[in-house]
Amino acid sequence: MRGILGGRVYDPANGIDGEVRDIWMRDGRIVPADEIDPQGAETFDATGLVVMPGGVDIHSHIVGAKVNVGRKLRPEDHRGSERERRGGYWSGSGYTVPTTHLTGYLYAEMGYTTVMEAATAPLVARHTHEEFADLPIVDKGAFITMGNNHFLMRAIKEGRREEARDYVAWLLRASKGYAIKIVNPGGVENWKWGGNVEELDDEVIGFEVTPRQILETLGWINDELGLPHVPHIHGINLGRGRSGRTTVESIRALNGRRAHLCHLQFLSYRAGKGAMHLSDAASVAEAVNTASNLTVDVGQLVFGPATTMTSDGPLQHNLHKTMGGRWVNDDVESETGGGIVPVTYEPTNPINSVMWLTGLELFLLIDDPWRVSLTTDHPNAGVFVHYPQVIKLLMDSAYRAEMFAGIHRRARKGALLPELEREYSLYDIAIVTRAGPARSLGLRNKGHLGPGADADATVYEEKADKEEMFARPRYVFKDGGLVVRDGELVAAPQGRTLHVAPAYDSAIEERIREHFREAYTVSFDNYSVSEEELGRNETVPCDA
């Protein structure tokens, strides 16, 4: 039993805005004060300190096949970012693509206790779970890519919606995934023929379906299965000059159906002169503001090294042609594809500068903080260890103006950002880094400090420099145990793997078995990840 006493608590899910409260934890849960016998409890004096629920990252690429290929592709990323083995903790290395243990440590040291791996192809889900087993402290889950899946597209084409639904349920169980992920629906399949999709009604080669139909069907399936999260969508035309327009059209196409649009910064541009992109954040934010069915995360760009990795194969080919450096292209059989390209974002680059301000404009123009999550699409737009810098940019308009003055003049010209004076409060930050993403993920025990919640909490010392404040928490608690003190690790327990187990008609399995015989390199019987392979895990219930 532990108590965090006398701190100023920011718990937006329970409407608590900086009021002085005591937080009590027992058996990994938050418990009301009247159930506690303070005798014998270990207490932490939080007088004058800021108490928040543990951070929740709704979209990050931290484990699995493509992250590991990223590690292998970038030996230089490891040099200079080594952590020595000490005090019973593992050694590790890597800046944009850190090793598994180090990833868990770094998240915890920043006050985060839940992280979602944003893209796992079902065929390589076992790799994801094996790395999860070596990723300590945080709770985690994996989103399963389905936007270019042959079985699904064939079922959609043939109008067998129920079969598609049962397949998705089976697939989530087989991969021990948490949510439906859609990446460039149809475009990744067309890339296998050297093409892409550019409009919602373009045809997917060989399947006679459209991106619109894929989005619509998976949205329907998500509601039918009552999954805790909503479809997690990386739309079409990512990174292109017309992506803002496409995003607004996609929002309309969703037609009120619930969804999460991820790393929206990458999808909010309009074309400028020549190859220049400009921010289209104003029209995208307007569309998001009027669509209460949506949540988004920003994917804020952070200047410095990054490693782009996505299932969006054609995008990565374009990026490789622009950058001229290393490139990995991947084909995951009948499921999806992918690519990896290392980049460095520079304020001296006009397009990078526009990307930076587009993200901030989205943060500042989308009115309801409950529908915006703070992410850098790690490691695509920036490394997660820089979240404190993003927080400072949101809370401190003077700092924002100072950085704005340092970006490329072509990006500054005519930009909306300097006119936006909004500053996030600590309450807003607690929403975009905790309460909001937890709600969007449907994690009822996360992102808040009410009775029954998981006892994941972070205590910060309030400082004028918000980057300093959020980079080094005074205390971090996971499942009620102290894991970080003064920014340093004091324990590294194993977190849970969160997954869903939606119900389905088992008659589908024979059809899937048939599909495996004709399309897969592995057999049906060797495909599914069993619960025994997961280690500590929790099935998050579905509503259906």
Binding site: R74, P75, E76
Partner: protein
């Protein structure tokens, strides 16, 4: 810059001398042995600087007898062929290894003089940005090279190796001069971006593979060239005379006559930019 060939003999009283206490095959990592780190430190303070003995964190005092103070001239004695990273990142002063040196010696250095009386290991002067490295013996692979994943190798500075060098000397080199008096191993000047590799001995097979720009000069036996190089004329390069003048001033026993042309010029690698050149002494 002093006379390179005399540097080994110079042993002034103003030097800090480190004497390896024993011989051992356990790899040691000691990037703390550098004029920058020693500057202004007493013997006891130097003895407290960290180093790795295998995976164990130890101090320089555990590994070396230390003598001398307050100077940026360092002498290293005893068997240090298993000591990595001596002079790593040094920016000033002088460092003399009186014997064989281990891997990564002088890597990332940007100034000062590094002298090795014996042979050097792999990654000698990797990604160096300035200064002079003078090796009396031979050197291992990747002299002045780029570490895996890095875009550029050596970028300014001078490396002189009197003996033979291993494979991929000057890998991804961007600027500067590497002089090898002995033979070079396979793929000399691989992926060169610019700079000069002067090979007085036999030039190893497949020179300049993937080179964009830069110059490889072959004074020894006519090398076996890749098909992606094309003959582009015979000439007497003026710049070489200046290079040789400079090297003679640096103390190398060369003569203008020995290197007087003409040279056959081959350009390539046409799988890349094709602006590199290999000059073969006739």
């Amino acid at each position: 810059m002093g006379c390179l060939s005399c540097a080994a003999l110079a042993r002034t009283s103003t030097e800090v001398t480190l004497r390896r206490r024993e011989s051992s095959s356990i790899p040691i990592e000691a990037e703390t042995i550098s004029p920058d780190r020693f500057r202004g430190l007493s013997e006891t303070q130097i003895a407290r600087l960290p180093a790795y003995y295998g995976r164990r964190l130890v101090t320089l005092g555990d590994l070396f007898e230390i003598e001398g103070v307050h100077t940026d001239q360092i002498g290293v004695e005893g068997d240090v062929s298993h000591v990595k990273k001596i002079g790593y990142g040094m920016t000033r002063g002088s460092l003399t290894i009186r014997g064989d040196a281990g891997p990564h010696t002088g890597a990332l250095m940007s100034g000062g003089e590094l002298t090795i009386d014996g042979d050097a290991g792999d990654w000698l002067g990797a990604q160096m940005k300035g200064g002079v490295i003078n090796v009396m013996g031979g050197a291992g692979n990747f002299v002045g090279g780029a570490y895996p994943g890095e875009a550029r190798g050596m970028n300014r500075g001078l490396i002189v190796v009197r003996g033979n060098v291993g494979q991929e000397a000057g890998l991804r080199m961007r600027r500067g001069l590497i002089v090898v008096l002995g033979a070079t191993g396979d793929f000399p000047g691989a992926h060169m971006i610019a700079g000069t590799l002067l090979a007085l001995g036999r030039l190893g097979p497949r020179p300049g593979a993937g080179m964009k720009r830069g110059t490889i000069v072959a004074l020894g036996e006519a090398p076996e060239l890749l098909p992606a190089f094309r003959y582009s004329g015979t000439f007497e390069p003026v710049f070489l005379r200046f290079y040789i003048q400079h090297l003679i001033k640096e103390g190398l026993m060369l003569s203008q006559r020995q290197l007087a042309g003409p040279y056959l010029r081959y350009v390539g690698d046409f799988n890349e930019l094709g602006k590199g050149e290999i000059l073969v002494h006739v």
